[in-house]
């Protein structure tokens, strides 16, 4: 009994540094802001409105040897939306659309990842926006990874997906059909911890 416990404890202690080395945990580089959460939505079918969320944070696990274990968590400060026009931002953040007063945070928590090989895959996860949680799929690409010039190790990705706003309880009924959905584009670099 005692022997078993010792062996188990030794194994547990020995495995700690090992798992830490293997579980490649990254923090999204919001400090150097090599990270962007942007959206693109039609304006009346004549052009596009582009905007981004300026404040967010997140982390991810990425191990090229164990891609099934890939996971991502991002938390976005909705009120940090910027579309280069304060009055429009105010309108988008009002209860006509995102209702940032009531729902100040949007989150994404991945639930699965399927690799397609060639540094590509599809991330599945729960996106919570406007108080509604919807499972979405986002095709993602590894842009690159490697050592940075400052002694760290980085991996960076991009991905985009179309969101139907009605799924999130956002009523776009007053607007033409092509404004009922938007493209969410995310790209970020993580610094390995």
């Amino acid at each position: 009994m005692f022997k078993k416990t010792v062996i188990a404890a030794t194994l547990a202690v020995a495995s700690v540094p090992l798992t830490q080395a293997q579980a490649a945990d990254y923090t999204i580089d919001t400090e150097g802001q090599h990270a962007f959460v942007q959206f693109k939505i039609s304006h009346l079918g004549y052009s596009y409105i582009l905007g981004s969320f300026e404040n967010f944070s997140g982390d991810f696990s990425y191990d090229p040897e164990d891609l099934d274990a890939t996971s991502v968590n991002v938390e976005v400060d909705v009120a940090s939306l910027n579309s280069n026009h304060a009055e429009r931002d105010k309108h988008i953040l009002s209860d006509d659309f995102l209702d940032a007063g009531e729902y100040p945070t949007a989150t994404f928590a991945s639930t699965g990842f399927e690799s397609n090989g060639d540094d590509e895959g599809v991330l599945t996860g729960d996106l919570t926006l406007h108080g509604e949680t919807v499972e979405i799929e986002m095709p993602v690409t590894l842009v690159g990874e490697g050592e940075d010039p400052w002694g760290g190790y980085r991996a960076g990705f991009e991905g985009s997906t179309m969101l139907t706003l009605a799924d999130f309880g956002i009523d776009m009924g007053d607007f033409p059909e092509m404004m009922h959905e938007l493209e969410l584009y995310v790209t970020f670099e993580g610094v390995r911890q």
Partner: protein, 184 residues
């Protein structure tokens, strides 16, 4: 005639008072109406343009008005002591709410650093921008201060009518007739 005296308001103050009254009621009604306009309404962009333009002009007029008010004497207050104190507090409240409503409105439109076009005549520059969540916070302050201003202005109107109809004194008349400022 132009200047305020202890016996009455001069023409400058009278004109600023009634133009402000007209603009404030107009801006409140316009603001109430325009914020419910649909995206496809032909007034969707035009109504805010009017609202902003009149608002900037009223802000400038109000700043001048406060300076003019502080520079010159005001006509003597009428009524019992408590009423005079209440009137004084009410008037300060009106000035404060006017300035808060006007400045907060200005801060909505200038939150990203762009100026405000005033009737196509000139651009009111943006002095303060990029505060966290500026447009939304300023918008909330704008709405509540405007609502409070309209309610207080309603009380101001009732008080003026009381002076005229119940007390039968010259408080309302001297805000209409500038020649009363010349009577000693």
């Amino acid at each position: 005639m132009w200047r305020n005296t202890r016996s009455g308001w001069g023409l400058v103050s009278i004109a600023l008072h009634w133009l402000s009254a007209l603009a404030i009621v107009g801006l409140f009604a316009l603001g109430w109406w325009m914020t419910d306009l649909g995206y496809y309404d032909e007034w969707y962009n035009l109504a805010p343009w009017w609202h902003r333009s009149v608002g900037v002009l009223l802000l400038v007029a109000t700043l001048l008005r406060v300076i003019w008010r502080l520079m010159l004497p005001a006509p003597v207050a009428r009524g019992p002591r408590l009423e005079r104190i209440a009137a004084h507090i009410g008037h300060i409240g009106l000035y404060v709410l006017m300035l808060v409503a006007l400045v907060s409105g200005y801060l909505i439109s200038t939150a990203d650093g762009r100026g405000i076009d005033v009737f196509g005549w000139f651009q009111a520059p943006a002095f303060i921008s990029d505060l966290p969540n500026q447009a939304t916070l300023a918008g909330t302050i704008h709405w509540y201060s405007a609502l409070a201003l309209i309610i207080l202005a309603g009380g101001h109107t009732l008080a003026a009518l009381k002076h005229h109809l119940v007390d039968r004194n010259d408080v309302l008349l001297r805000m209409i007739d500038p020649t009363r400022s010349r009577r000693g």
